[in-house]
């Protein structure tokens, strides 16, 4: 399959890649760019572990071709902390012990940041609903809700 040039803007850094058009954004991140913070749990858009931001909105990197991301600003878990300071959602996840194995965590955190930005963190019920696309088999859900609530309150104050 012929490779095409793909220009990706990831966490404010520009990357030029030669990729087959069938390469997903997820595999481009993990296999070509060494950005393994974004996880592959199902490769079919069922688990949410690969959630990243594209122009500020949450998308599933496994259902996005790398070529579709051209010209869009991609943010991954590696780009969330600024100058060594944890993002408030990251800090809240640590505080609330909102993870165990850590594998779904980058996707949960990227989803949570967007969930708050979307205005969908107004109540525990709303957080549960709008975080329901990110599976966690360790069962950290109640603590994830607590972390999102904590971070949302921090943003509001």
């Amino acid at each position: 399959m012929t490779k095409i040039p793909v220009h990706l803007d990831i966490n404010g850094q520009h990357h030029e890649l030669q990729l087959e058009p069938r390469v997903t954004l997820l595999d481009a991140l993990r296999e070509r760019l060494g950005l393994t913070g974004t996880k592959k749990g199902c490769d079919h858009g069922q688990c949410g572990a690969c959630t990243v931001h594209m122009d500020g909105e949450r998308v599933l990197a496994c259902l996005t071709l790398a070529a579709q991301a051209e010209g869009r600003a991609i943010t991954t878990i590696e780009g969330l902390a600024r100058e060594g300071e944890l993002h408030p959602v990251q800090a809240a996840f640590l505080d609330q012990d909102a993870f165990q194995c850590g594998y779904c965590t980058p996707g949960q955190i990227m989803s949570a940041v967007a969930c708050i930005r979307e205005g969908h963190a107004g109540s525990d019920e709303e957080i549960r609903e709008y975080m329901a696309g990110n599976l966690c088999r360790c069962g950290a859900y109640p603590h994830i809700v607590a972390a999102v609530r904590q971070a949302a309150q921090e943003f509001a104050s």
Binding site: E31, K39, C42, Q46, D97, C104, I127, R137, P142
Partner: protein, 770 residues
């Protein structure tokens, strides 16, 4: 020599309400591996970036029984980027490895790609290519033809039969059938659980790299040394030639303890190609690449007097196993110990079906066993007309009814009391269908759970380094239980430094050996080993400070010194006060190193190898004078939509006895995780078989339903444990598996209370209620 508690400044991470310092054992220290996990810096096994990596993708059987007639790999081989297509004919065979008991294997070759098909989804070929995309595309071009033979799909298959009796599972005392026949109150019911899957978020996979006769495997693993042994035996290389690396594990739940055939394929491919090979299962492949929880069937009959005092329990169980493998899910494990009974009989069969061999999934045995007995005891409460909590207390086992030994600790009565109080159980209206909120029927259910305290010998290395920091090394692992954190707390408290100054290194088989992280044993084993090694390191440090002529303490003529907060001083506070780093510098040492292990003193090298690479030396939980178990009681509220039969769990209060908690913050997370997996088991999870082809039709995360955030209410957990000196060095019992045991029956009991319908067949889906 004595060690005083560390004194640290106010911790940024908060202290426990009982005043325990966050950094001490028992404190609520946040995960020390947390920052790596929340920033994406934690590199899981298959995320290692290696030069020259080739990618392998598996091809699996599409029939459940028969033989591979031919594999046409020509098109796949000609596909761009393809390096090799491996089939049963082209892969070089391995040697058969011993099982996890270390039983010497038959001297015959082992081919990890199958010619003889015994289940649908068996690996029959693998494609190795330059890129993942090329391997995926070419794998779809491999054409496999079969000679198909009839298969047995599952336990409900008419051809399945009664199976094979497993005599080792038989437990009997008194005359249970006669006592049952004579009992004035009798109940008898059958309880079923379906095939369930661990479904860790990180799929199974590995990277294998050979350098000469040395193999490095980056693979998520609950047991590095056990898996290294298997790889070494497969390839007939010395154990020391195999290195397993597994720094973080994206969930295991029992499924990542053993080396599996996909690992053999990848390691063989790497050897054949002379390149590192990465192979990761697709999500659908994870449903057949290893076994989930076996489907089970149980019959529980209980005879009581008119007041509900149990006279007899007769229990019969069946679980499925594979055509050529053996898995026994011990179904009588909770039945035989939860309640006092003068007469008891439990027997179990296994039935062979065309499935991958089932495996360990969170509380294998205890989990389905509790579904049977804890549902049956609830049925009995209604039969007699007393409260479900009262019947449990009325038949409370004051000692282990099976072994007749004293419990090491059993805070189950306390768990019932604390849970009931917090839940408000006293306000329960006893009659089914008597509580509602609009069109929602409300039900309150209770059930108990238990899990044995599995014990083993452990080993650890502790170093005190020149800068005063402490390093802990072990080939044990952290898959989210908190091993990194509790071992940092243990070393910090024992040596007398801050937890921040401890670096815990796990997940590399080059480190001090470790047995399996399974059966909820790792925390107890490893805190014991680290505490021993750290004590020995501290003794060396204090010994040097007292005896070395260059030490500032030499002139003090002290018998002992105190190390606290990284500084050394005399117990009375007179004399010098120096940092560990300053002391080491003064005596010209760049480190102190101690290995601690809890093996018997006369252990041979062979004993040690056996201890860490097999489960043959595990210590029975009923050894000596005591019977050791963790205990719990779950109180659960459900809301059932009267029109649609949908069940929602709306409230959970669980009180648990895991003995002393090494870190309550992390233990609570694990308990809640177990409870949530239990909610999935009760309401959602079921492997559905296609009866024509023996295929699992819901082999993905959209169709095999695991709980989502929207399915789970807030959950309250209460610790009622007390330190148990008979269970572990520091007084803890098991945490990880306990939480799930008893959740499904508590929900089934709540559903009965809400609806008046007794569902004895998990999961409790709406069609069973309307």
């Amino acid at each position: 020599m004595t060690v005083h508690n560390i004194r640290v400044g106010e911790s940024k991470r908060g202290d426990a309400s009982d005043g325990t310092l966050a950094e001490s054992v028992g404190g609520r220290l946040s995960r020390v591996d947390g920052p790596a996990k929340i920033t994406g810096a934690a590199r899981y096994a298959v995320e290692q970036q290696l030069e020259g990596l080739a990618h392998a993708v598996l091809v699996e059987s599409t029939i459940a029984s028969g033989k591979v007639r031919a594999i046409d790999a020509a098109t796949a081989e000609a596909s761009p980027g393809v390096l090799r297509v491996l089939t049963p004919d082209t892969i070089i065979s391995l040697r058969t490895a011993s099982d996890w008991f270390g039983t010497p294997p038959p001297d015959k070759p082992y081919c990890p790609l199958a010619r003889d098909i015994t289940f649908c989804g068996q690996h029959v070929a693998a494609v190795v290519a330059e890129t993942f995309e090329q391997a995926v595309a070419a794998a779809a071009l491999v054409k496999v033809s079969y000679d198909e033979t009839p298969s047995i799909v599952d336990l409900d298959d008419g051809k399945a039969g009664d199976g094979i009796p497993i005599d080792a599972m038989t437990k009997e005392w008194g005359d249970a059938p006669a006592a049952f026949a004579a009992a004035p109150v009798r109940i008898c019911a059958a309880y079923n659980t379906p095939r369930e899957y661990q479904a860790p978020m990180e799929p199974h996979g590995l990277i294998a790299r050979w350098e000469g006769e040395h193999l490095t495997v980056w693979e998520p693993s609950q047991w590095l040394d056990g898996m290294a042994r298997t790889y070494a035996e497969w390839f007939a290389v010395p154990f020391g030639n195999v290195r397993l690396v597994s720094p973080y594990i994206g969930g295991g739940f029992g499924s990542k303890a053993l080396a599996l055939s996909h690992g053999a394929v990848a390691a063989r491919a790497a050897k054949m190609l002379g390149r590192p090979v990465k192979l990761v299962m697709t999500r659908p492949q994870t449903f057949t690449g290893y076994g989930g929880r076996a489907a089970t069937r149980q019959t529980v009959t209980i005879g009581t007097d008119r007041e509900g005092v149990i006279q007899s329990i007769v229990h019969r169980g069946v679980n499925e196993t594979s055509v050529d493998g053996m898995w026994v899910e011990p179904l009588g494990s909770v039945t035989s110990i939860m309640y006092a009974t003068p007469n008891f009989s439990s027997k179990q069969n296994v039935v062979r079906v065309n499935s991958v061999v089932p495996g360990a999934m969170r509380a294998p045995g205890e989990n389905p066993s509790a579904f049977g007995i804890e549902s049956a005891i609830d049925e009995l409460a209604y039969e007699i007309g007393i409260d479900p909590l009262e019947i449990r207390l009325k038949n409370y086992a004051e000692q282990d009814p099976h072994t007749r030994k004293a419990w090491s600790t059993r805070q189950l009565r306390e768990a019932f009391a604390a849970g009931a109080e917090r839940f408000g159980w006293a306000r329960r209206s006893p009659k089914p269908r008597s509580m509602r909120d609009g069109n929602q029927l409300i039900g309150w259910g209770v059930a108990a759970g238990t899990y044995p305290v599995r014990r083993a010998y452990g080993e650890a290395v502790v170093r005190i380094l020149a800068d005063g920091s402490v390093e802990v090394e072990s080939s044990s692992i952290d898959m989210g239980q908190g091993t990194y954190t509790i071992l940092a707390q243990t070393a910090a408290e024992t040596v007398g430094v801050r937890a921040d100054d401890v670096v815990v290194k796990l997940g590399d088989s080059r480190f001090a050996r470790a047995g399996v992280a399974g059966g909820s044993r790792l925390a107890g084993v490893m805190t014991g080993a680290v505490s021993k090694a750290a004590t020995s390191a501290l003794d060396q440090l204090v010994g040097l400070a007292i005896s070395d002529p260059r030490s500032p303490f030499h002139a003090l003529q002290a018998n002992t010194l105190v190390v606290a907060n990284g500084r050394i001083g005399s117990p009375r506070g007179d004399g010098p006060d120096v940092s560990i780093a300053e002391l080491l510098k003064s005596v010209g040492r760049d480190r102190i190193e101690a290995t601690g292990d809890t093996m018997p003193a006369n252990s041979t090298a062979e004993d040690r190898y056996k201890n860490y690479t097999t489960i043959a030396m595990a210590l029975p939980h009923t050894e000596g004078d005591y019977s050791r178990y963790s205990w719990c009681a779950h109180f659960i509220e459900v809301r059932v939509d009267e029109d649609f039969g949908t069940v929602r769990v709306s409230r959970v209060v669980s009180a648990l006895d895991s003995g002393r908690l090494y870190n309550p913050k992390l233990a609570e997370s694990q308990w809640k995780g177990g409870i949530i997996m239990g909610i999935g088991q009760a309401l959602l999870e079921e492997g559905i078989m296609d009866r024509r082809h023996g295929r699992i039709v819901n082999n993905n995360l959209a169709d095999y339903l695991v709980p989502t955030n929207a399915d789970i209410p807030d959950i309250e957990v209460i610790s009622v444990g007390i330190p148990d000196p008979h269970s572990s060095a520091l007084g803890g019992k098991g945490v990880g598996e306990l939480g799930i045991v008893g959740v499904a029956p508590a929900i089934a009991n709540a559903v009965f209370h809400a609806t008046g319908k007794r569902v004895r067949d998990l999961p409790i889906t709406l069609e069973k209620l309307i």
